[in-house]
């Protein structure tokens, strides 16, 4: 799991059975009472859980999550939309909730930015094994994490980024990359049967998206992958073709593509891929 704190923006991404939405009220409280800041936009996204019945309230269903969000966020965030973006498989949908007040207009430079969220399942078991600690390695979580970062090639996704990495015991891995004001993050659950890895970054439409996507596919070789891109500048068509062009030569085939618009939050493109070997 990861947390990013900017002067006027917070991003929290958590896995497992964490009750992420319960952070909203304390965040609004601290931001307002300690810093005089007011919430002006909220975006909540997630894929389809592998074990939905294990999730605690309010994550018991997307309906429950939306109800909780609607009741928790302040009324000035009046431009609201909730959507489940489908794929060909009912077990792979993208859940999006956005809410903004009327003041939240993206800056010009924000129009060139996108957020890319990649979810991967059924990782190549040989590659996934690299995210297991060696018994008795006598390493700390930090030093074992650093070793995994280098051994897997994660440090080659963005060689300019400073990486803060951590290896969990007996397995699992998280890293945050920082490169100027841009972040990237990876989380890995390597256990066979429910293996999962995610990659997320913020980038500019002028970036080398092909290099990033191919590197990520190379590191995990997933049987199933979804790519969700959120952008404000009307580049949705360009984005989805670039993603397909980057990923399909790596042995994954695009099986579905869905697009949706969210008021004051931009457009979201959700694409799913499966390995051709399947």
């Amino acid at each position: 799991s990861s947390l990013f704190v900017y002067p006027t923006k917070i991003i929290i991404k958590t896995c497992g059975t964490t009750q992420l939405l319960k952070s909203i009220l304390p965040l609004i409280y601290y931001a307002h009472h300690h810093l005089g800041l007011t919430l002006c936009s909220c975006r909540y996204t997630r894929g389809s859980f592998i074990f939905p019945k294990s999730q605690p309230f309010p994550h018991t269903s997307f309906k429950d999550e939306v109800t909780y969000l609607e009741e928790t966020i302040p009324s000035n965030l009046c431009y609201r939309k909730a959507s489940i973006m489908p794929s060909k498989s009912s077990s792979h949908s993208w859940h999006v909730f956005t809410a903004s007040d009327e003041s939240h207009i993206p800056y010009d430079h924000e129009n060139e930015l996108f957020t890319m969220e990649i979810c991967m399942t059924e990782l190549d078991p040989i590659l996934a094994r690299k995210f297991f600690r060696r018994p008795g390695d006598e390493k700390t979580g930090d030093s074992a994490g650093k070793e995994m970062t280098e051994l897997t090639g994660i440090n080659e996704i963005n060689p300019e980024a400073y990486i803060c990495d951590f290896a969990f015991d007996p397995c699992g891995y998280s890293m945050n990359g920082i490169d100027g004001d841009w972040y990237s993050t990876i989380h890995v659950t390597p256990e066979d049967g429910y293996s999962y890895a995610s990659f997320e970054c913020v980038g500019s439409i002028t970036d080398d998206l092909v290099h990033v996507l191919r590197k990520v596919v190379q590191i995990f070789r997933p049987a199933t992958m979804s790519v969700s891109t959120t952008s404000c500048g009307g580049y949705s068509n360009d984005m989805w073709t670039r993603v397909v062009g980057a990923v399909e030569p790596m042995g994954l085939k695009c099986r579905s593509c869905a697009m949706d618009q969210f008021p004051a939050a931009g457009s979201v493109v959700f694409q799913t891929f499966t390995a051709r070997r399947k």
């Binding site: 919430l39 389809s48 998280s174 995610s198």
Partner: protein, 64 residues
């Protein structure tokens, strides 16, 4: 009963704030002390395991 493993799929929340005081906005949310961050994370059932920052933002690796 189906065997349940660790849920990999994440939930992601992004919040934007605004304020009137330009001096405050320079650091803004980054001025939140570590105790406040820990309290917020307690509501989510996470703790900080590693942290790093630069002149633009702070990044935390969390448990779970």
């Amino acid at each position: 009963m189906a065997v349940s493993g660790f849920e990999g799929f994440e939930k992601r929340l992004e919040l934007h704030f605004f304020g009137d005081d330009p001096a405050l906005l320079q650091m803004g949310l980054r001025k939140l002390d570590f105790e406040s961050i820990q309290e917020i994370l307690q509501a989510v059932q996470c703790t900080v395991v590693s942290a790093v920052g630069n002149s633009y933002f702070d990044a935390y690796v969390l448990s779970e």
